[in-house]
Amino acid sequence: MAFSKFSSFRWYYTLNICSTNILIMVMHEYIRKSLTIDCEAVTNYIVERIREYLEFSNKKGGVIGVSGGVDSAVTATLLAKATDNFFILLMPSSSTPKIDLEDSFEMIKFLNAQNKYKLINIDEIVSLFSNKIETNNKYVIGNIKARVRMIILYAYAQMLDYLVVGTGDKSELLLGYFTKYGDGGVDVLPIGDLYKTQVRMLGKCLGLPERIVTKPSSPALWEGQTAEGELGIDYETIDSILYLRFDEMRSEDEIVKMLGIPIDTIKKVDRLVKISQHKRLPPEIFRLSGRAINSDWRFPRRWA
């Protein structure tokens, strides 16, 4: 699940209209090689890290929201490999495509989770919010949907003494293509260091249903919304730019040469990453004391 915070992404709207002009490219061979993962090693590693994280957190298991998309399908599969104590929430709304709900049920079957899931349609809750707030702005309501899902996940986590396992991937996290305290409000992000294209590779290796692995990413916060349509760039291009820009620290000009794409596309991606930094960090605390949290008071998560 990936939901954007639209207030700061005004230029999207126009792009959205002409989403047929999406820039598609074949992934550069060098980047394809760089991003290729050893599926088995990565799977074992993440599964072990999830198991260990649950143990260190003294939690019995994990709850996860499954949307029918590749990120949540992969994360749920890894979670299910790490522990039998997992619980899945399906939280569709009126803007959830029928096929996504079908694919979510495919995942329930795939994970043998017939006794470990709950279906909650969030439309009623969301419309209570939008009525009270008196808005029909689809971007505001879209973020409310993401945050309603977060509330439900945490309620289940508390009742079960589980953690909330997030499904964000590195591409979304870097772009800020998620709702702060919505799908961004989670306890741990097991696939947060894998780009979208790598998550698809992993999904394929894990034997997930083909339709889920190849489906275009979509937050589905309103009808017809797709990530690539909204961003105006396909994920292979996005991941190539992100990888070259931030993993390899290459300049815009170098990337233009390597990928043969317009510099504006690179600038667009770059800007999305920069303006969303606040979403990836804990809130700023204004220094007042002799030792301020996060500034010069730093402790590991595993403290007690």
Partner: protein
Amino acid sequence: MGIRVELAQIRSYPGDVYRNYKKHLEIIETSTADCVIFPELSLTGYIIKDLTYEIYKDAEEATRKIAEKVNKCAVFGTIKEVRKGILRNAAAVIINGKMDYIYKFYLPTYGLFEERRYFQRGDPLKDLKIFEYRDLKFGVVICEDAWHPEPIEALSFMGADAIFIPSASPMRKLRENLAIEESWDSLLKAHSLMNTVWTVFTNVVGSQEEEYFWGGSRVVSPLGDVKLKLNLFYEDRGVVEITENELLRARFFSSYRDHIREFHSILDKL
């Protein structure tokens, strides 16, 4: 003598080299002083984290452009790539358009500081330099180097009559009398008195990330008097005249001249 020095206590915008650059030019162009002293990393901002790698080239270019505009003397904070990929926390020293650098020796990596993640320290054997503008001989050390006796001591014995100290000192505990201000006040007075030099401390001001830089830039005479003190917490500028009289009186009536070097051979073995 009688050199007029301006302290430019500015707010730097972390990562916004162009904006900081314009501020530097504005101050240099409107200054009536002989020499303008800016804070540490004034061109780049202090808390820039990994942005360091993205902006150091811009900072070097801005440094060159500022140098072209300085027909007197200016000292400001910037980043210098001393060889490919090796960066130093530097102060550019511009005299009559001619550019030189000094480097920070002690890079703090305690508390909130993480300078050694980004910078290489200067080498005292190569990087202690004495500059001369009109008939003022001066040295420059950056912030943390004033928390040790040797850098300023060395420069004073090399002939400096004034020490410029571009700094980025963040406020720790907010209270009526800032502990960090009292510490700096004591350090500057001690350096001035022990080394019979003028000390010129220019601090940055304003917020950067969660921190707040407290300003309070000041000048202490060789006799230990605070000759100028700028605002706490706000941008400010002020000019002070560095004169010979205080230097002479301090040196006539102190044991500075009797510096016993043998102590250093003991220190060397400790």
